[in-house]
Symmetry: C2
Subunit: 214 residues, 2 copies
């Protein structure tokens, strides 16, 4: 409504692109150079057809019947996803989940660097977890613009999430990965991606039940 | 291939069903009794049309122009998702992320109960985190069948994930919420849902970039 959609690419397609990239990086480690769509999708619960359909959103790549060059396809996917350069992010809320993410090894492979963390707990401020320094949340307005960061991971308690999110937006943040189990009410120009463990579990329950039933 | 699909409901639809449910529970807390699709989807980045389309997969519910009864719709969604009864789950791997999930308050609202946790670290075995007791992973084959649990959260390091997942399956687990950044290679009858922080971040980066670009 009011906002024109140029081309509508499903979020699930983008999510799968990220999975393809992870799979390809693994195959590269295993020294594969040219690879079939079957091989790429082998452990992803995705059909080769789906893979080709997903890729086709972004124009032609590879030659039919020949397979894909691993390096080329990795580069292609990284460009599409916008991670062909270093992506600097901040994290707000260094509780249990936040601490776990600061030390999360899975980010390294994908050009993501958490450059600063914020919390309001005086005990935590100044400490370093997983190479990331924790700053006072009250300093966000000063530090974030200086860092030139546009993405944030939000791991504060649900009751603080809306307020902190608004503050992040006023500091120049344009995308938020929200782990707080609330729906943030922000300008439509801010992209929010919710990671809700309960939502994931419900999705799993649904599909597991399907399998059990039949 | 070989497996017949009765009706293909997109995973994103199911994920949104879970979000609608969360939204409805919030509205119920706020004492709403009858509600429009606009209100339900207000903070979800989902259009009312999408909401109605998602619901329509599961047969008619509500009357056009009248709105939805909050209680009825909650019950309807819980039944669809399979969480109208208590869902018992186990968690394997009590590292930082696993510990965070044991204490995660977001599960309570949705009938999920983590009934046991497992780890191989002798220091952790016997301890209780967030009301959940930690058992020796070597006891899984004995304990899991007795608990009658079919869903597991997997938060072990990537290098152990495949082996532990196979063990879970042999204990009767049918659905795995996998936080380890690897693709599990299991029987097609086992449902695996991957929650990969890097994948989520890549998805966010893509969409945030879209917004920044115009």
């Amino acid at each position: 409504m009011g906002r024109k959609k140029i081309r509508k690419i499903p979020q699930e397609t983008i999510r799968r692109m990220a999975l393809y990239l992870r799979s390809l990086k693994k195959l590269k480690e295993q020294k594969f150079q040219i690879i079939s769509s079957n091989k790429i999708t082998a452990y992803l619960n995705v059909s080769p057809d789906q893979f080709r359909k997903d890729l086709s959103y972004f124009g032609p790549v590879g030659k039919p019947g020949v397979g894909y060059r691993v390096n080329n396809l990795i580069h292609h996917l990284e460009k599409i996803l916008g991670i062909d350069r270093e992506c600097r992010i901040i994290l707000v809320g260094v509780g249990k989940l936040g601490s776990a993410l600061l030390g999360y090894p899975g980010f390294l492979n994908f050009n993501f660097t958490i450059v600063a963390a914020f919390d309001s707990d005086k005990e935590k401020i100044g400490k370093i977890i997983g190479h990331v320094k924790i700053y006072d949340v009250s300093e966000m307005a000063k530090i974030v613009p200086r860092l030139g960061v546009q993405l944030a991971i939000l791991t504060v308690p649900a009751e603080n999430a809306q307020q902190v999110a608004e503050k992040l937006v006023s500091c120049g943040i344009r995308g938020i990965l929200n782990f707080a189990p609330v729906n943030l009410n922000l300008s439509q120009t801010i992209r929010v991606l919710n990671v809700d463990m309960a939502t994931e579990l419900m999705t799993l329950t649904y599909f597991a039940k399907k399998i059990l039933a039949g």
